[in-house]
Every structure is written in structure tokens, then in C-alpha cells.
């Protein structure tokens, strides 16, 4: 006999316009959602940072002819894992196998390093109509 089906993950779905000012409200909504799922404070800080960096990139590098399209952000949470999916309309890129911090006095170039540092799994799915960054973090017991 198969065991009971695992509970459906809780889901948060947010759409944001291609405007950096929209990122912080989405991050606040994600923080509230993760608090409601009883995630640890340290996990929430990490996930919020990764979410913001991913959204910033999705907006900053959106293709000029697709800036009217919204960025879709989804957060799924079950008892073991938090998964973020950020869909962008950028030209896409190959996720670097190795990520290093830039020179100390560089004023940019730290975002992907920070995402890598705080999340456990990263997948970047490229497609013709858009791309999706999938970020996962295991929840502490």
C-alpha cells in the first residue's frame, strides 16, 4: 500500500512590473509567507536576499522589447524545502560553473555569488519565450 500523499506545498505567486521599486514589496510578501510557514529567521533572510538579487537581475537585464512583460515570482514551501521560481524576459545567460567575488572595489557583480552562497540548489532554464531561475533551499529541522 502506498503511503499517504505528501501535503501540497504552500504557494505564493506574485507578478511584478519591470521596475526595481517593485522588488521590495514582493520581498516583503515573501518574508511574510515564509514566516507563516514557520521558516527559521536565518532561512528567511537568505531566501529574501536570493529572491531580491534574482528579481533585480530579471528587471535590469530584461530585453528592451519585452520590458512591458511582468516578472513572475513563485515561492513553494513544504516541510523540507523552499523553492523559488523567477521567470524573466532577459536574453538569458549560461549560469557560471564557478562564481567568485569581483575585485574588492568593484561596484557591481556580486549578485550571482550571493545567490549561490545562500541557496542549496540552482537551475536556470532557458526558453524562447523567457527563462526561469529555480532556487531551492533545504529547511532546517
Amino acid at each position: 500500500m502506498p503511503g499517504p500523499a505528501p501535503p501540497t506545498p504552500a504557494l505564493l505567486r506574485q507578478m511584478l512590473a519591470c521596475d526595481l521599486a517593485q522588488v521590495h514589496p514582493v520581498a516583503r510578501a515573501a518574508r511574510k509567507f515564509l514566516q507563516e510557514q514557520a521558516c527559521h529567521a536565518e532561512e528567511i533572510v537568505d531566501i529574501e536576499l536570493a529572491l531580491v538579487e534574482a528579481c533585480n537581475n530579471a528587471i535590469k537585464y530584461a530585453r528592451p522589447d519585452r520590458r512591458h512583460k511582468q516578472v513572475l515570482v513563485e515561492a513553494r514551501c513544504d516541510r523540507d524545502m523552499v523553492e523559488l521560481r523567477i521567470s524573466d524576459h532577459t536574453p538569458g545567460f549560461d549560469w557560471p560553473e564557478q562564481l567568485r567575488l569581483p575585485q574588492q572595489e568593484a561596484e557591481s557583480g556580486r549578485g550571482l555569488f550571493l545567490i549561490r552562497a545562500v541557496m542549496d540548489e540552482i537551475h536556470y532554464e532557458r526558453g524562447g519565450e523567457g527563462n526561469t531561475l529555480v532556487l531551492r533551499k533545504k529547511r532546517a529541522p
Binding site: L20, A21, V23, H24, A27, V45, E48, L49, V52, E53, N56, I59, K60, L101, Q104, E105, A106, E107, S108, G109, R110, G111, F113, L114, A117, V118
Partner: protein, 100 residues
Amino acid sequence: MKIETDGQTLRVSAVHQLGAANAHAFREGVRDALDDTQKDIDIDLSATTFLDSCGLGALVALHKTASSRKGTVRLLNPPPPVQQLLELARMDRLLEIVKS
């Protein structure tokens, strides 16, 4: 954001968020407030609830501004999550972090 002058030091406080949406305005606001005699910048981060890589970039830019005047940037009393990010990005090697 609140900016006060104290001799050769510009004191910046009430920085609630420092991210992509306001990093440019923050950097330019601080630079514009510097007069010719000031070389040091103290940034009180005790009220900061959010910092991202763009905010870090603004702090680096101000470090370069202060260095060009032979001064320094000090970050005062960052809350633990902000301190953690500063250390993760190894900004603690570039900027002095002061806890009181």
C-alpha cells in the same frame, strides 16, 4: 535618510533599506552632502532592515569617494543579518565595521 555634519565627518543615519531601487539616490545624496572639508563618512546601519548587492555597490562607491579625500567610510552597528551579508561579500575587509 538623515545626514549631519560633524567636523571632517559626514554622519548618515536612518537608512532603512539600501537596495537596487534606492542605491543610486543614496550614493548621490551622500556625495552631494559632502563639503570640501569633509573626508570621513560614518554610515549608521542600525535601522537598516535590508541590504542587497546594489546597496553594497553604493557603499563601495562611497569608500572610493572618501579614499580620494584620504578619508574612510565606517559602518556603524549593522544588525546581524546585515553584518552577515557584509561578511559574506567580504566587505568587512574593505570597510571598517564599528559596533558600540
